[in-house]
């Protein structure tokens, strides 16, 4: 009997009814990890998880704590004390952090059991799930191993999609959880920027970075937000707006908006049809759905705006990686030579190029025209979406214009300026604006999943989760996994 392909509440019920123990769950997870072929793991808590599960198995199940004894996976860009943390970068191999990330601490306090640190695109910078030091992470839905699961939270998505863990923690700076969720039939949820403490999350672009996570259904997502959300004095950007009871989900017809330029960019008929069908069914449920135009130029600017801002922030955030205090050191005659060796060999060329771009945009002579222009553009984009979200409860669109792409589809590299690819890259608007945004399964094409994305105004997670649950009821797509 296997349990880990179920949702959190189902597993919790099995634990409460003594059908299964935490130790059974951990053994099941470790066994599945051993046989997994998706290359999703950086570190597996073999001994630690067994030890923890043995202790828990001696205790009474906490019936009012659904996370008790539940195994989970966490992206390897969260600091975990004395557990190797690499951010899938060669430079950080062997790094043993001296402290725990806040979200990790909260999960440990709830007696959830960490089972693995998962792969990511190097330093969370990328969307293919193939640029980490361990290479490609595969999509469990694609047995030919030719399709990506997307990134950067590729390992967390793969672990959850493969039925190894019922939930997995990731981070979302541009679409790093919501895009992979679309490619792997998962719920991927990024709450409002500031809703969850980022203390211990390796910063990529702090003005955009958000803790986010994968679950198998919307209810589990709501549960996790009640545990992970809320102010943390260690992260001054975390909000002191009180959290709500996100689990009391009651249906009510809302107003949702489709963005014309993004919708118009859709080419895949299956996806378009599935989305249209969803829209008409929502209307049947009493939803009011309208279409708003933001202008092609602004829609096109979303991704480049995101790219410039995130690259600029990233080049500074990763300046601490010098191999001196931690990370892979190199022999050299001088400090300068050492740093050159550490950073040239430690980062992939892709990362180094992006750092250069970020750096150039911050130079005094360029800052006005590049970095600051992107920040100005950010305001225009955000004010546009704020306005929409003031008169509508949510923005609803397909999460991706295609099913999971083939590896190599992005090479030669996509030129985001020339080929707008608006519908493929728009999700970053929710990071520019810090909005809560959720992706959930919408349908299948050639047995590969694709998702729908819903985004709402700041700190309206309760409403967003209600809408998402309505969508989930309509599609009937939940608690999915692929062995």
């Amino acid at each position: 009997m296997e349990y880990l392909d179920k949702n959190i509440y189902e597993i919790h019920e099995a634990l409460a009814n003594k059908k299964v123990t935490p130790l059974d769950l951990v053994k099941e997870a470790l066994d599945k990890i051993k046989n997994d072929t998706n290359n999703a793991f950086e570190y597996v808590y073999e001994k630690e998880a067994i030890k923890l599960a043995e202790e828990l198995s001696k205790q009474e199940v906490e019936v009012d704590n659904p996370l008790w004894g539940i195994p989970f996976a966490i992206k390897d860009n969260f600091s975990t004390k004395d557990i190797p943390t690499t951010a899938s970068s060669k430079l950080l191999e062997g790094y043993l952090p001296p402290f725990d990330a806040e979200v990790y601490t909260r999960l440990l306090n709830k007696k959830a059991i960490p089972i693995a640190k998962t792969t990511l695109d190097e330093l969370a910078m990328g969307g293919t799930g193939s640029s980490g030091h361990l290479g490609k992470t595969f999509n469990p839905w694609d047995k030919s191993k030719t399709r990506m699961i997307g990134g950067s939270s590729c390992g967390s998505a793969a672990a959850c999609a493969a039925g190894i863990v019922p939930f997995a923690i990731g981070s979302d700076t541009g679409d790093s959880v919501r895009k992979p969720a679309s490619y792997s039939a998962l719920v991927g949820f990024k709450p409002t920027w500031g809703r969850i403490s980022r203390f211990g999350l390796f910063p990529f672009a702090p003005s955009l970075d958000t803790v986010a996570y994968f679950t198998r259904n919307v209810k589990d997502s709501a549960l996790l937000l009640n545990v992970l959300g809320g102010h943390d004095i260690k992260d001054t950007t975390s909000s002191s707006i009180p959290i709500e009871d996100y689990q009391s989900l009651k249906d009510k017809p809302y107003k949702a908006t489709i963005i014309k330029e993004i919708y118009d960019d859709l080419k895949d008929k299956t996806i378009k049809d599935a989305f249209d069908k969803l829209v008409s069914e929502l209307k049947q449920k009493g939803y009011k759905i309208n279409t708003v135009s933001i202008g092609f130029d602004l829609a096109k600017a979303i991704y480049s705006c995101y790219y410039i801002i995130s690259s600029a922030e990233a080049t500074s955030n990763n300046a601490n990686l010098d191999g001196i205090k931690f990370g892979v050191n190199k022999e050299a005659e001088t400090y300068e030579e050492m740093l050159f060796k550490v950073r040239t060999e430690g980062f992939s060329d892709r990362i180094r190029r992006r750092f250069v771009i970020g750096s150039i945009s911050l130079l005094e002579e360029n800052q006005q025209e590049i970095y600051l222009r992107a920040l100005r553009c950010r305001r225009v984009i955000v004010e546009t979406f704020n306005k929409i979200l003031e008169s509508s409860d949510a923005i609803i669109l397909p999460a991706s214009p295609t099913i999971a792409p083939l590896f190599g589809d992005d090479i030669p590299k996509k030129s985001f300026a020339k080929d707008a690819m608006i519908s493929d890259n728009y999700l970053a608007f929710a990071n520019l604006g810090g909005y809560p945004s959720i992706t959930l399964p919408l349908g299948f094409e050639d047995e590969m999943p694709f998702g729908v994305n819903i985004t709402s105004h700041h700190f309206t997670e309760a409403k967003l989760l209600k809408i998402a649950q309505t969508v989930e009821q309509i599609t009937g797509l939940k608690d999915l996994s692929k062995k």
């Binding site: 600017a301 480049s304 931690f326 180094r352 150039i360 945009s361 305001r379 590299k413």
Partner: protein, 98 residues
């Protein structure tokens, strides 16, 4: 359009304390051209250069300040366990030239 020479790109890399080889430099040059096109595109947004830059995703102000109270620091062992070379509690690096 704000053109940047390959020399500038290479210099920026060196200021970030790493190298990029000739092939990478070619790719970088193309990527940078993309950025230029993107920022030119942004100028099609009306009045863009008169909009106030936006650093945070929404208006963010706090009045929280940490009281000046000491927390237990890392032990020297914890602080240094990730450093490659340590002598008498200090991290050893090759001499700094500049």
């Amino acid at each position: 359009m704000k053109k940047v020479s390959q020399k500038t790109l290479l210099e920026a890399a060196h200021n970030l304390m790493f190298d990029i080889d000739d092939i990478e430099l070619e790719v970088l040059t193309e990527e940078y051209a993309d950025i230029l096109e993107a920022i030119n595109h942004m100028q099609t947004i009306p009045n863009i250069d008169h909009v106030k830059a936006m650093v945070f995703p929404y208006e963010l102000v706090t009045d929280y300040l940490r009281e000046d109270v000491v927390d237990t620091p890392l032990s020297q062992e914890e602080a240094l366990k990730n450093a490659t070379k340590v002598e008498e509690g200090q991290i050893v690096i090759p001499k700094v030239v500049k």
